[in-house]
Structures are given as structure tokens and as C-alpha cells.
Amino acid sequence: MPKSYADLLREARAQIREVTPQEVDALPADAATIVDVREASEWEQGHIPGAHHVSKSYIEQQIEAAAPDRDAQVILYCAGGVRSLFAAQTLAEMGYSDVASMSGGFQGWKGAGLEFETPVVLSSEQKQRYSRHLLIPEVGSAGQKQLLESKALLIGAGGLGSPAALYLAAAGVGTIGLVDFDVVDISNLQRQIIHTTDRVGQRKVESARISINALNPDITVVEHEEMLTADNVARLIDGYDVILDGTDTFETRYVLNDAAVAAGIPVVHASVFRFEGQLTTFVPYEGPCYRCLYPTPPPPELAPGCSVAGVLGVVPGILGLLQTNEALKVLLGIGTTLAGRLLLFDALESEFTELQLRRDPACPVCSDAAVEARKAGRPLDVATVGADAPFLMTTTGLAGSVSPEARA
């Protein structure tokens, strides 16, 4: 005996309990699993807060993930209350003992003036590009949207900045600022993989932008072709969510630290020397800052830069990627950063060592007294660093200073 749609609907109504939107709204949190059985395109237009989305066409395959307990209350809804009735019959057949369908569906919900939320919507191209992120629950479409709206600033488009910029771009960090006043030199290409042989002589910020946009044209690249100084640092870092410090002078590192603490922006710090690297994340007021770790810069003979001491090319590569990992966690608000920990890497031994860091209660930049002094317009004195400090040494000993152009 064939059955009409009206017959099937009548049977479903007789079998399945129906609840009104107001009754669903009045339920205490966690009293029921609410499942939206509409198509993805309808879900994207808005849904009940906290609802799971399992399209009716996938209900048999996917309901157990959304509602693992067959004895718990499950309430289904669709647009008008019909598809959810039929989907509820399926659940009853599967052994769900307490299934209801919301009469009037999402239209009824909205018509009653009840609260709903609109999910983050990525374009179909973005869904494909970031699909491996979307599959991770800790990132997902909300996290990806967060990354797309984030702004990261790289100080230096060199050994550390090259891998960091490329992976930040690949991850979809929507705005990447680059601070570098240098031009690409052929001696950079042993490690600065964002630049290319045919761009030797070109401005580094421009060369980096070309590589970033070749990898991901969605990324907005802000070129700051200038040297970071005490005079421009506040302007340069303004509006960024996280900063990756990949410079090669102490002067810049201290200037950046002081301004970033004052602005409350986390700085992911890395530095390299031959086969070794150091990495940490400075989260203002939550952990130590750079001046807590190193209150004063070392004398020149103890701190040569890469351009005079040399560096194995992969070391800034590895450290730059660890910086990027920290930056992504900061932007997504997931995991545990290196705040309060210094990670040492020794490439010759393939060895990582972790040291505990503490906030210096007498820090002239991040202590309570320093904050008060800044508020009062009288910042505490800090040790100053000479511009050429790290560049006075060659591998054989003290030598003349190196011109800014030779810094790399």
C-alpha cells in the first residue's frame, strides 16, 4: 500500500514528541543536545546557539558523534519543523529513547524573537586552502577566521623572519607587517629563504611581499622600510596582535621590548649564534620581559651577530618556525606558550634545554613600579645600548664596526 507525504507526516507526528521553541529556550543548559538538521547553506545563515549541525542527509552517519548517549534527550530542528520530524524517526529507529522535534523550526525560533548566532563563513576557496586547519578542533572555522583577522609584525625579514613570514602567510594570518631597511644580498640566501637569487639588490620588504603573496594572495603585507628606533617604535607596533623579534642587534631588541611591554603586545623572541639558538615568548605582565632575562646587554666581544660570527643556515630556520608556532598559539589562544621559559637549541647535539625565567620585581620596564612611573609620565631609566654594540667583533677578535648595509 503506497503512502503519500501526508500519510508519512501524520505517522511521524503520531510517533514523535514535539516541543515549541519557547520550551527549548527554557531548558537548562546541558538538559538536551540540540541538533540542527538543515543543509550547510541554511546553517551558515544562522542557528540556535550551542546547537550541533548534522545535516539530515548525514543523520545516520554522524549523529553518534554529536549525541553519543542514546538515553539523553535529543531535540532536532530544521527550518519549519517537518524534516526534523522525519529525522527524529530515524533516531528513534536507531535506539534514541528521548527524541523530540521542535515545531516551527528555526523560522519559529526567530519569529519568537529568540537569540541565534551566525557562524563564521569562509569562502569555498578558503575552505579548501585551510582544510587541514579546519579539521583540527582547536582551530576550526572560528580559529581560522581569528587568524585571518589577526595582525603579526615581523621585526627583520632575515634568517628568522623568512620562515616565520612564509608559515604565517600559509596559515592565513591576514596581515603581516615587515620591518626591515635592508636590501637582499647574495650572502643572505644561505638561510633567508623568502628571498631569491633574482631579487638580489631588491628591498627586503618588497622581496618578502612577493614571496608571501605568491604563497597566499589573501595576505595583506604592510611594508615598513625603516630601521626600528626609539623614535618610531610606538608607531610601528601599533595595532599588531603579536610581534616576532628576529633582529640582530641588542639595541633593537631592547627598544622593541620596552615599547611592546608598554603597549601590552606579546613578543616572540628568538636569537641565533652559529649552531645555537634561544627562544621564549614575552607576554607583558604575565611573564618576564627581555630586560628581566638580560638586564644589560653584553659587551661587544661576547655578542657577535651572524654577519661576523656566522650561523648554520637551518638554525634560524628552526628557531623561526618555533617562533611561528608560538605566535599562532598566541593568536588562537590555545596551548601553553614559552612565557616564563627559555628554550635553548643546540644543533650540533640536536639538543633542547629548557630554563625557568622569572619576572624581575625591580625590572625598570615591566615591574609594578615601572608601570606606575610610565603612567605618571616619568618612565624609569633603562640601560642604553650603543647602535654598533654587537658588531665590533670578528671571529678572530675585536675589529672595526660594521656598516648597517653589512648587517644581515
Binding site: 644589560t296 625565567l357 654587537p390
Partner: protein, 90 residues
């Protein structure tokens, strides 16, 4: 005996050694023992007054001695001491 890890920037002062076994029951005696054997380290680690230079961090088993007892921090047998100057390269 504690093991003192020497960062590469200081290794020319100790004949290239990556680490050294040093006697001493405090950071002061360990550092003095080091400087006795390798006098060139003295100017790097200590001020003229004999205090630790502020640009070299010293860790015992991963803890900064500045937040322990400085030069008077006790060092036990088999402890790991690490000298760590800042590095700027990027």
C-alpha cells in the same frame, strides 16, 4: 663535581670545551674554580668587585641563580650549571 656547560661564545676561553667538570659547593667556588683554570673567563663572568656580570646569566638545574642566592647558591654533586650570555643574531 658539577658539570658546567660553556656556551660557544665563551669556549675559546676554555680551550674549546663544551662542558667542564668543576669542584665546588657554591656558585662562587665553582666560578672561582673555573677562573683559576681558565683565567680568560674571569673578565667575562665577574665584575672588578668579584660579582657576577649582569649580562651573563647563570643557571643551576634550570633555575637562574639571581633568584636563588646569587654567588652563594649551593651547588651539589652532579648539579648542572649553565653559563648563558645573551645573543643577538637573527
Amino acid at each position: 663535581m658539577s658539570t658546567v656547560h660553556i656556551p660557544s661564545v665563551l669556549r675559546p676561553n676554555v680551550g674549546g670545551a663544551k662542558s667542564l667538570e668543576v669542584d665546588g659547593d657554591s656558585i662562587r667556588s665553582v666560578v672561582n674554580g673555573l677562573v683559576e683554570r681558565h683565567p680568560a673567563l674571569g673578565g667575562q663572568l665577574l665584575t672588578d668587585e668579584g660579582d657576577l656580570n649582569r649580562f651573563v646569566n647563570v643557571y643551576v638545574n634550570g633555575q637562574d641563580v639571581r633568584y636563588l642566592a646569587g654567588l652563594d647558591t649551593p651547588v651539589a654533586d652532579k648539579d648542572e650549571v649553565r653559563l648563558l650570555p645573551a645573543m643577538a643574531g637573527g
